[in-house]
């Protein structure tokens, strides 16, 4: 049954005058706007409580933790090897790089991180650089889309698809790769993989150049990014930013150069640096990093020990039965290997007691693992230094003074992943 209500509509001019009188106190009053946790521009579940004066942001309080899964607690309850799949889910845009970072941290605890077989080092470097390109491509695509340039997103996702194919060919999984093992890799790359990587590099250079023509000199893009979200050198160091966000501010710090691990010291590449520290600089740094990554990839393809098909049977894991699993053939035919396999699977890699911190240059910045071991196959405490978490802590200082329409641009330029930030 429909009901009829009588409504009185007064003189609108008189009501407007009355409202203006009532609202006089409201003039100059600040408004609190809740952005997120489900907002397309927050790239996940970041929530920011913004205090606004008109369109100007006067205060910003980022609220993280919506994706908290307790990874550090989980790590204390399983062996080192069992935790590898959890690292896929930290920065889920670059699982291959996370796998490498974590494996290197545990290997440092074991004291074998510089004794890895050369072929393993090269494959790991290629994985890291592919992951870097993949993560930067998504960051760039989403960043451009938030700013209104939708085409770039389509370009970058076409290229990312190829990287997923490469990850699948190497590890069997597209997203949750879990490709590394403590002391090596799950398996060798297939014989055609290097050729595929080379082909990808050639195609990618074209696509990147195309994306660049759409953005770098685009008037709208430049006007929206330049002189926005400026992070000075001092501020970047004080907030311990890392990765492209730190280098965008002109600080020459890249763990691949400053504390070389794997075979990075044998490879030639430049560190991209910004000069102003604004959003545009961070964008440029990421573009250049992708170009340098293809440069590294090409060198790896040329120099990989054992060649593409590995006819010489170069090992990809440390041939030590106490660290990596022996071959199935040996397990079934030899007592010692059988015992090794049994111990590794049930109790995990027996690590010495001690503390170790290993920082890895991940696409988002320095992904560090601090492991406190009391011996045995399970860490006593595992702390993950997530670059996104640290990079986000600057928001409270970066956002005030900007306009509300600048928020997606600043967030996009910081390029964070909540899965990593919240752990």
């Amino acid at each position: 049954m429909a009901t009829v209500h009588d409504m009185e509509v007064g003189d609108s001019a008189a009501r407007a005058a009355q409202a203006a009188e009532e609202l006089q106190d409201v003039q100059g009053e600040k408004m609190v706007l809740n952005m997120g946790p489900s907002h397309p521009a927050t790239h996940g579940v970041l929530r920011i409580v913004l205090e606004l004066d008109g369109e100007l942001i006067t205060k910003a309080d980022p609220d993280v933790g919506y994706l908290h899964r307790g990874d550090e607690k989980i790590a204390e309850n399983m062996t080192y090897t069992q935790f590898i799949p959890y690292t896929d889910r930290l920065d889920y845009l670059a699982p291959l790089a996370n796998n490498v970072a974590y494996a290197l941290a545990v290997e440092k605890l074991l004291g074998v991180h510089d004794k890895l077989p050369p072929r393993c080092q090269y494959i790991r470097v290629m994985c890291c650089e592919l992951a870097r390109i993949s993560a930067h491509l998504l960051g760039l695509g989403a960043f451009a889309m938030d700013t209104g340039a939708v085409t770039v997103f389509l370009l970058t996702f076409t290229e990312r698809e190829k990287i997923y194919n490469l990850a699948e060919a190497a590890s069997g999984a597209r997203l949750t790769t879990s490709y590394t093992r403590i002391g090596g890799l799950m398996r060798d790359i297939p014989p055609t993989w290097c050729a595929q990587v080379k082909q990808f590099c050639d195609e990618f250079d074209v696509a990147l150049a195309e994306a660049e023509t759409l953005l770098t000199r685009n008037r709208i893009w430049v006007d929206r990014l330049r002189d926005l979200g400026v992070v000075s050198k001092e501020m970047a160091i004080d907030y311990a930013l890392s990765g492209p966000n730190l280098r965008g501010s002109g600080v020459n710090w890249d763990l691949r150069k400053n504390q070389p691990y794997l075979c990075y010291k044998d490879l030639e590449f430049e560190v991209a640096l910004g000069s102003v520290g604004d959003c545009y600089d961070r964008y440029l740094v990421r573009m250049e990093e992708m170009r340098q990554s293809t440069r590294i990839l090409r060198q790896c393809v040329e120099k990989i020990p054992g060649g593409w098909a590995n006819d010489a049977k170069e090992p990809v894991s440390i041939p030590d039965g106490k660290i990596t699993l022996p071959s199935k053939q040996k397990v079934l035919s030899s007592m010692e290997e059988l015992i090794h396999q049994f111990m590794l699977v049930t109790e995990g890699v027996n690590c010495p007691p001690g503390e170790v911190y290993f920082g890895h240059e991940n696409p988002k910045g320095e992904l560090g693992f601090y492991i406190n071991s009391r011996g045995g196959g399970v860490p006593y405490r595992l702390k993950i230094r997530a670059p996104s978490f640290v990079n986000l802590s600057i928001l409270g200082e970066l956002l005030p003074g900007a306009m509300i329409s600048d928020v997606p641009v600043i967030l996009g330029s910081l390029d964070f992943v909540m899965g990593e930030s919240d752990r």
Binding site: M78, T79, A240, E355, Y370, L392
Partner: protein, 154 residues
């Protein structure tokens, strides 16, 4: 114990600083005035471990929600979590894999005893209930037994 890992960007030096914190006091001074990045790190330690930082201007929970009563990274906090009064699906039931570590420990349960799949579902439910109700700390907090409730006989 709180561990600081510091790195100098100019000379590339790394320093690891450790301070002892007693569990009763659980308080140390904040280093926020020295490094601004420690703001969120100290909030996280407070949130996860319950260590308070004297002089921190904004010591709120960061990963867990405001009002959450426990410090989950402490060793006495069970892996399966603890129930809270807050509504939601989290922590209303014990997770099926409760009782880590998932590693064979000498003298511990063997894999058949730990493997949830070999349990009979019905007796499993009763077992879980009994285990949840047996937890002293839960009873203390809520003053009553809780859990999924007994299974009705068919």
């Amino acid at each position: 114990m709180v561990v600081y890992h510091l790195r100098g960007i100019v000379n590339g030096v790394e320093i690891r600083l450790k301070t002892e914190v007693s569990e009763e006091k659980s308080e140390i001074p904040s280093v926020l005035s020295v490094w601004r990045t420690s703001n969120w790190h100290e909030r996280e330690i407070y949130d996860m471990m319950g260590i308070r930082f004297r002089g921190h201007p904004d010591l709120r929970r960061i990963l867990m929600w405001e009002g959450y009563p426990y410090y989950p990274l402490r060793k006495d906090f069970p892996l399966a979590g603890k129930p809270t009064d807050l509504p939601g699906v989290a922590f209303t039931r014990v997770t099926p894999m409760e009782g880590g570590p998932f590693v064979t420990v000498a003298g511990g349960n063997d894999s058949i005893a730990r493997e949830p799949r070999v349990r009979v579902p019905e007796s499993d439910e009763v077992q879980l209930n009994a285990r949840v109700e047996a937890r002293g700390d839960n009873k203390e907090m809520r003053g009553q037994a809780f859990g999924p409730g007994p299974i009705e006989k068919k």
